[in-house]
Symmetry: none
Subunit: 201 residues, 4 copies
DNA sequence: TATGAATGAGGCTTCATTCAT
DNA sequence: AATGAATGAAGCCTCATTCAT
């Protein structure tokens, strides 16, 4: 409810995106009204249209922006890591940390896809597939190289992604465990689930 | 003025629930309109109120009914199974199968909680905690008995639940793998992730 | 809210009328719903139609019945009283007492006329005129006989009626003054307002 | 899509208030629909909400505004008048004239109080009490000074107010009597009812 | 006599959006 | 860049009423 009064010109777009993300995260896209959003930003509803085309476009741009960031960052996180088990650990560490730190963004991306219209939906699903392939490639390589047990790559990919992503539905910064402990626990479970011997880190 | 042919009294409630569940699954609770629902059922919007109090009550009753069924069935599935690894396998088998077969129900339960008002929300969260405790009890016992590696029960519970539940976001009855194959794959991953030796089944 | 459970057959009509009167008094005719009424009576809305034709008819029958009673009783109260001042006092005493004791009925009659459709409205207005003529006749006679000051009969009639009727908007049985005290006060004011010398009673 | 000709911004609020007052006067608050009101104003129902928060708020603001005007004007009318009988005459003259000229406003204030929600109701009742005290103060002073007969102040206040207010339920500008005649008649009756000797004016 | 089920009409209100200023 | 005013569409829900059982 904290109205950001006095945000002029160039900063306003950023304010709208931040408030929009939070409101969608809290109430859902359908349940968030542009009245609410405008009130949070400290402008009138009609003024929003100086910064966006439609409500739907706002949602899409938020989702796309964060999918792109996810893709960029995962590649950075994997750069220079070669061994399958190491790469898996790196992926897990990155994914879990990202899902703890960027909880809202990630939740919006995951929950509000169905509110996208067909074309926007297709675009995002394609990006998601690209992201998933980062993990499935690691698993496939690991199996080929004998580092992981011979299991169905597809199922394993979905299962591990779901396991890791789950963290954003319960993690709280002031919780009992530290970020590092949570990440390590997930690395352990992911590696073991693939039949890998735990690596020293 | 006369009764519309094709929808008789006693069956109508069931029709409403089925259609409501499907529409909420497809569009989300906020996005589903009672006009839509009534049209699907073949009655007028105002007639819905002969079967429900409010839209919110419809959502709650759907969610509660399916949470109760989940609780009843998990207990039945675990009855008579004693060894931790066996119990875990039984839980995984039940949970995954339920989430493949009852995909819509389960998705609605998981995604639409935020649309419940405070009291209804509290009721359902309590039921969900009861369900989660079935798994965490198994993991806790397994660790105590040395069947599983010594890991954080809470994290492990959430991680495995998320992994298993994920199946309902991609499973399709006409997919490449059979139900049994998918279930076995998840049993394997879950057991390994806990550091259990794979059991013979 | 006290549901009168178990009112069978012949008594039900009376129960409906009583509850209807009270509800219209409390909420107004437009604001009272037949759902409410049925609930108070302990039957289903559709069952009301075994006892009345429409909601409008219920209102009319209540109003008409009580107008008729008012007419009957005022004539009884004036029977045998001859002197204008005495007749005025008798009228005032009757009118004020009736408006204290039958507060709800009288308020409904006075406030809900506008909710009657044209024909019903005309009927009731005619009855009301008949009632008013009881007072205006007394005033007219009193002026002719020199018992009252020479003033406009019409204005005096309306003014005194309004004054007396006002009692039902503030009287409470547990109030500071007794019925008799209130009645006497009004007799005094009415007589004086017409320039009559106060009579001994 | 373009602006409907014939109703410009700044005047619309006033138009809404006037039409709203008239419709509530004619049909009652509950019976007046916002569709009706919008149609009278020449805008669409949803446009009403650019000028009011809710239907209830419209009612309250109309009532409050007119109660405030009544309070302001009565004080002006009594300014500089000192003798109790003179003050009473001034009060009667003001009240009757106001109730003849502002018939609709006054009727809405008197009849629609019950449609106000609790808080709004309390506010208005308090204002009404303040208004009534103008009259009761006059009566009380008159009795103390021996200008009026010793009677119950409360009853006399209610009785005279009711008598005077009654005028708005029958007065018609094209009636037999002039405003002045009606006012004089009421002054006479009010003074006499309190046992005052008629003053020369 | 009672009622479950159905309904057309309509209740108030919110919505995203447009456009002239 | 901002907004007041307007709007069509639609939201959930209540209403009085009907009628077959």
């Amino acid at each position: 409810m904290s109205r950001t009064v006095g945000s002029f010109g160039p900063k306003t777009l950023e304010t709208i995106r931040k408030a929009g993300l939070r409101l969608i995260f809290e109430h859902g896209y359908e349940a968030m009204s542009l009245r609410q959003l405008a009130a949070e930003v400290g402008i009138r509803p009609s003024s929003l249209y100086n910064y966006m085309h439609t409500k739907q476009d706002l949602l899409f741009s938020l989702i796309e922006m964060h999918m792109q960031e996810l893709l960029d960052q995962v590649d950075a996180a994997l750069t220079g890591v070669v061994e399958p088990a190491e790469r898996l650990a790196a992926f897990v560490a990155f994914h879990v940390r990202y899902h703890m730190v960027r909880k809202s963004e990630v939740s919006v991306v995951n929950f509000e896809l169905r509110s996208l219209d067909v074309e926007h939906y297709a675009t995002v699903v394609e990006m998601r597939k690209r992201y998933e392939s980062r993990l499935s490639d690691i698993i496939e390589d690991g199996i080929k190289q004998g580092a992981f047990a011979p299991l169905d790559v597809s199922v394993a990919t979905f299962a591990i992604l779901a396991m890791l992503t789950g963290v954003c539905s319960w993690y709280r910064p002031d919780g009992r465990l530290s970020e590092a402990e949570i990440i390590d626990a997930h690395i352990g479970m992911a590696l073991r689930s693939l039949g890998a011997s735990i690596i020293a880190r």
